[in-house]
Amino acid sequence: MNKRPFLALFVAPATLAAIASAAALAAILQYAFRAYVPGSLNPGGLTLDNFFALLRPLYAQVFIQTVWICLLTALITLVVAYPLAYALVRTRNVTLKSFLLITAVTPLFLGEVVRTYSWIIVLGNTGFINSVLKGLGLIDRPIQMMFTTFGVVTALVHVTLPVMVIMLSAALSHIDRDYEKAATSLGAGPVKAFLTVTLPLSMPGVVAGVSTAFAWTFSAFATPQMIGGGKVSMISTLVYQLGFASFNFPFAAALSVTGLALTFAVLAMAKQAIKPLEKIGAH
């Protein structure tokens, strides 16, 4: 009767998980439209006040800063990851390949907190960079890198790098080497061949990588919290403060919902941007 007798069995856990997370989302959504009652964990009546509150310069500022940090992180990650991915895909040298794979991809398995700690060791006032610069006599006083946007972006780049490298490698490995050979035989030097052929053909991977990095960074919490230390605000850290320091759940929910909507908007735009590029990649 049923062609796939185990289907229900397999789908059931996924359905449960989906229902649970949908319920959580729905809860957050309804919280966002409820009034905050100071001193109480329970929300009040329906209102749009939370969303109006988001328009206040203080919060609008955080939104802009978050988008800026995410964009910066995504673009810097792209610039760092592209050569790594290119070398990873193109090298025939097995040692180099393993080395690249280990440096670029293994951080993925360390987790955000561990990686961020390592950056605290590097960026701190008595950390690696400052000690070295001091040792070399280049600076008298430590350069402030902790609790700055620079520090947060640096650590976030490291956090998003593995994913970007993986996505770019996937895109690059699908580009036939003959395209570059053809360009070369037609008179294009290595740089021209790269700019006119390889780079445009890898655009679907670039767009996918940048939008993923953007979304990834947008939801990052540990890194901005630990490196930013409250001095660099992002939506995620703000949600945490509002929810767990002021217990203003409705406002935290409104912030989350707006952030989520923003992320979706960015991903949708990226998807539109990829469309014509995907046809290029299909050969």
């Binding site: 036939d176 003959d178 395209y179 050979k181 053809a182 360009a183 070369t184 035989s185 037609l186 008179g187 294009a188 030097g189 021209k192 061949a193 006119t196 052929v197 445009p200 053909l201 046809k279 290029i280 990649g281 299909a282 050969h283």
Partner: protein, 385 residues
């Protein structure tokens, strides 16, 4: 090694003393002087010597993995040789970057840039050379007309059929007016009819433009029908260089004989050799054949006689060899009559009879005698003794 095998009577083929070739001889389109290529421990190309004249259509023919693409990549500059030198138009290529070689390449999978339309693809090489826009437009239009694709400029490669993509690839390689055109199995992805049409077209275009062409294929009939000369390769070595007729009728070794065209093998024994002529004993008779291919073979040694199916004559009664008709294979313009012959390698001899009457004239089971002119037979030392 292989240089010794090249027929010295052939005027454009490299002299036996190729290393000593003088500068004047380098007007040839392409000269390959003892080029060796190794990949790790494996040698993909053993000291290849080859001289391709200006405007010549040279085919590299050989089975998969024999080093054809490797040689092509060396000429194009995509690979660096481990030894030897390559000259194009008399110029040493070793220090010339691939993008400065002015060599047009047509790839097996076309390698048309998917993000550019046809006109942009064809004009690519001109843009890289900084040619003016007006001239690019004219030359692209000319090139597209040459391959009969006028008006296809705006299409994207994926909107074209395989044959059309092949033409675009050809136009793109030719528009830069290359010194040499390299084609690596360009037609292998096309169906049989289209392949035939493209062969004729490529040959016509090549003759019209007079561009030196090196064409790679593993299809012997394609090689025979298109080439001015063929270089037969196997296991990284050039085994023989010659015109299609020489390759087909006067193969210099058993590999060439059996790779190019169908062949019957009759084991025999070398009786004696006098000057140019060798006498070979086979099953029921003796035959005087050319001794060229039997150098250094002592009388009494086992030899194999190679005869093409179209050179074998079939008759009733007893002859040089005799056998029983086993079956017929109808091929349209001719019939292959397969005859059981005890004395033949594999126990079979194929006789190619023109027309279609063979099956009624020699029904299955008929005793027949087989005969051939000594001029159509080539003897080689047997590798099975």
């Amino acid at each position: 090694m292989s240089a010794e095998r090249i027929d010295p009577r052939e005027p454009v083929s490299p002299a036996v003393s190729a290393p000593a070739a003088d500068a004047a001889a380098r007007v040839a389109g392409v000269q390959i002087d003892g080029v060796t290529k190794r990949f790790g421990d494996a040698t993909a190309l053993h000291e290849a010597w080859l001289k391709i004249a200006d405007g010549e259509f040279m085919t590299l023919l050989g089975p998969s993995g024999c080093g054809k693409t490797t040689l092509l990549n060396l000429i194009a500059g995509f690979l660096e040789a481990d030894g030897g030198e390559i000259f194009v138009g008399g110029r040493l290529m070793t220090e010339t970057a691939p993008y400065d070689r002015e060599i047009g390449v047509v790839f097996q999978n076309y390698a048309l840039f998917p993000h550019m339309n046809v006109a942009k693809n064809v004009g690519y090489g001109l843009r890289m050379r900084g040619v003016g826009k007006r001239e690019i437009d004219t030359r692209v239009a000319e090139a597209l007309a040459l391959v009969k694709l006028d008006g296809f400029g705006e299409r994207k490669p994926r909107q074209l059929s395989g044959g059309q993509q092949q033409r675009v690839a050809l136009a793109r390689a030719l528009v830069i007016r290359p010194k040499v055109l390299l084609l690596d199995e360009p037609f292998s992805a096309l169906d049989k009819n289209l392949r035939g049409a493209m062969q004729v077209e490529l040959k016509e275009i090549q003759r019209r433009l007079g561009v030196t062409t090196i064409f790679v294929t593993h299809d012997q009939s394609e090689a025979l029908s298109m080439s001015d000369r063929i270089a037969v390769m196997s296991q990284g070595r050039i085994r023989q260089v010659g015109t299609p007729d020489e390759i087909y009728r006067r193969p210099l070794d058993p590999f060439v004989a059996s790779f190019v065209g169908d062949v019957n093998v009759l084991p025999g024994r070398l009786e004696r050799r006098i000057g140019e002529t060798a006498t070979v004993l086979i099953a029921e008779g003796r035959l005087s054949v050319s001794a060229d291919t039997l150098e250094g073979i002592a009388p009494g040694a086992a030899v194999d006689l190679f005869v093409r199916p179209d050179a074998v004559r079939i008759a009733e009664g007893e002859g040089l060899v005799s056998g029983t008709v086993a079956t017929h294979v109808y091929q349209g313009s001719h019939v292959d009559v397969l005859v059981d012959v005890a004395a033949a390698r594999g126990g079979r001899v194929t006789v190619r009879v023109p027309g279609h009457g063979a099956s009624t004239r020699w029904p299955v089971g008929t005793r027949v005698s087989l005969d051939f002119s000594p001029a159509d037979a080539v003897a080689f030392a047997s590798d099975v003794s």
